[in-house]
């Protein structure tokens, strides 16, 4: 930990956190536009296409609308909790998202500035590198349940409260299956660290079994080939964790108006929205990281990219950019799947949701854990 050893490094690391937060927040309008256009095409409509080219200016119009709406507090609300909840909605998403490594580190060699030499630096393309990255992300994102409860109870509306109770019950029920589905990955790579996991997935598919080396050069060495069930379970529970369809029981509008954010309008609603998209982004990032090689470019290892960049005269900047693009493509694909599923699958009933979480996902996640443990033990004999 630690922010750096001199003022330059500390400044850059601090700025990096701000940039990552802004990146997360700025991605939301684009995703909203994508979701509205995408849903329109899925439902054979056109979607917003009047304001600006392709309707892109709709985002700005929406932002102006959100900012200029009337700011009100319901009579029965608890003002402190009512105002605190939307602010807290942003925190878990932003803090957890900063811990995801998005590219290879950038090396800056020593240079002269303000009459003194500033030593060589290595900047990670992530907010902070935490040794036990997965545990940290799981822990921080489990705090999101408080936001729902604070909003639901603070609004002083029974629909809000019921929506919040449903949503938090769902979140903590699915957290079990979520945690267990990652245990297989953790055992496989033998680390909690996200960067080490990415490094372990480089190159073509190869593993040792009973002393024989099995390799398939036409496949990348991704976690999905070792943990298909784990990937499926993780992705399913991630939908439930981010309260997206088909698990958005929290805001079943036919029963609960809009769930925990019934009483919120304007910018406060927008902050809940950003929180929800933040969860989607964490889930997509982790999915890419655990099962699809993280920032690694398929078939090529980081060293090969570094050699190639050096041969055409570029340094770690180009390498980092290429790996960031690789990460971004995977990330965007999963975000699109989130949107796609929302407009494809219908909502569960509440008892179906609980039965699915406790009686289907949890046993399968346990089975996956035990099976992985056995296979790893046998393979190491």
């Amino acid at each position: 930990m630690g922010m750096g050893k001199d003022i330059f490094e500390i400044t850059v690391n601090g700025l990096k956190l701000v940039v990552i937060f802004l990146m997360m927040v700025q991605a939301v309008p684009i995703l909203v536009w994508l979701e509205r256009r995408g849903s329109a095409f899925i439902q054979n409509r056109l979607g917003p296409n009047r304001v600006g080219p392709l309707g892109l200016m709709q985002l700005l119009a929406d932002a102006v609308k959100f900012l200029t709406k009337e700011n009100f507090v319901p009579d029965t609300a608890k003002p402190l909790l009512y105002y605190a909840a939307p602010v807290f909605a942003l925190i878990p998403g932003a803090v957890a998202f900063s811990a995801i490594p998005m590219s290879t580190p950038i090396q800056v060699s020593a240079f002269e500035m303000f009459g003194s030499t500033w030593g060589p630096y290595t900047f990670l393309v992530q907010g902070y590198d935490i040794g036990v990255g997965i545990v940290f992300i799981l822990g921080v994102s489990s705090l999101a349940a408080y936001t729902l409860l604070m909003a639901g109870w603070g609004s002083g509306n029974k629909y809000s409260l019921m929506g919040a109770l449903r949503a938090s019950a769902q979140t903590i029920s699915y957290e079990l299956a979520l945690g267990l589905s990652i245990v297989g990955v953790i055992m496989l790579y033998g680390t909690f660290n996200l960067t080490e996991m990415t490094v372990a997935q480089q190159g073509p598919l190869a593993f040792t079994l009973f002393g024989y080396t099995v390799s398939a050069s036409w496949l990348p060495n991704w976690g999905i080939f070792y943990q298909p069930l784990g990937a499926l379970l993780f992705f399913t529970t991630a939908f439930a964790e981010s309260n997206r369809l088909p698990f958005d029981l929290a805001e079943g509008e036919s029963e609960l108006v809009a769930g925990f954010h019934t009483e919120y309008g304007g910018f406060k609603f927008n902050m809940f929205f950003i929180g929800e998209y933040g969860h989607m982004m964490i889930a997509s990032g982790l999915m890419a990281l655990f099962f699809f090689g993280g920032y690694g470019i398929p078939y090529v290892s980081v060293q090969e990219v570094q050699q190639w960049a050096a041969s055409i005269g570029y340094g770690s900047g180009l390498v980092a950019l290429l790996h960031f693009l690789s990460f971004f493509v995977k990330f965007a694909v999963f975000l699109w799947i989130f949107i796609w599923v929302r407009w494809t699958l219908p909502r569960f009933r509440y008892d179906q949701l609980m039965d699915f979480g406790w009686k289907t996902l949890l046993p399968w996640a346990l089975a996956n854990t035990i099976l992985t443990a056995f296979v790893i033990y046998i393979a190491s004999l």
Binding site: M1, D129, V132, G139, V140, S142, L143, A164, L165
Partner: protein, 178 residues
Amino acid sequence: MTADAFLFWFLAIVTLVSGLSVILMSNPIYSALCLAMTMVGISALFVTLNAYFIAGVQLIVYAGAVMVLFVMVIMLFDLKKDLQAFTRGRFTGAVKIASVGLLAGLVVGAIAMSVGLLNEKTTDNPVLVGTGMESTKALGNILFSKYILGFEALGILLLVIAVGAVALARSKGGTHEH
């Protein structure tokens, strides 16, 4: 003042103030939210002690699961502000406060007296410094070797508790009927 010291004092104040609020707030929901704040503060204190894994587990288990359960139960009951939050009786109350004060004085005094006698070996163990991966591995190793019996016993305890909680709670009602 160094950054570490500043962090410690900041976290100490946060945990103490929110810990005090837990017992002083007359509305149980605010108590529960303050306790969640305390848990997060203690988790951050674990980080200052280089116990990264424990800090994460503290967040997941306490702040993420146990306290959410508390808050949910309180909201489900829809408890109003406690009309009489504190125990009745001036005399018993005074005795209780006095005993708490006495205990506080004894504990703090005992620590202040005895800590000089402990020889602090501040982090000469390589396992306890660094980014946390080494200490997590070492933790796993001793958990599954030296403390395996306690670990198994905890598993049985959890099974018994799960059965017990279901048996206690299923008498009437529940979240949904079958």
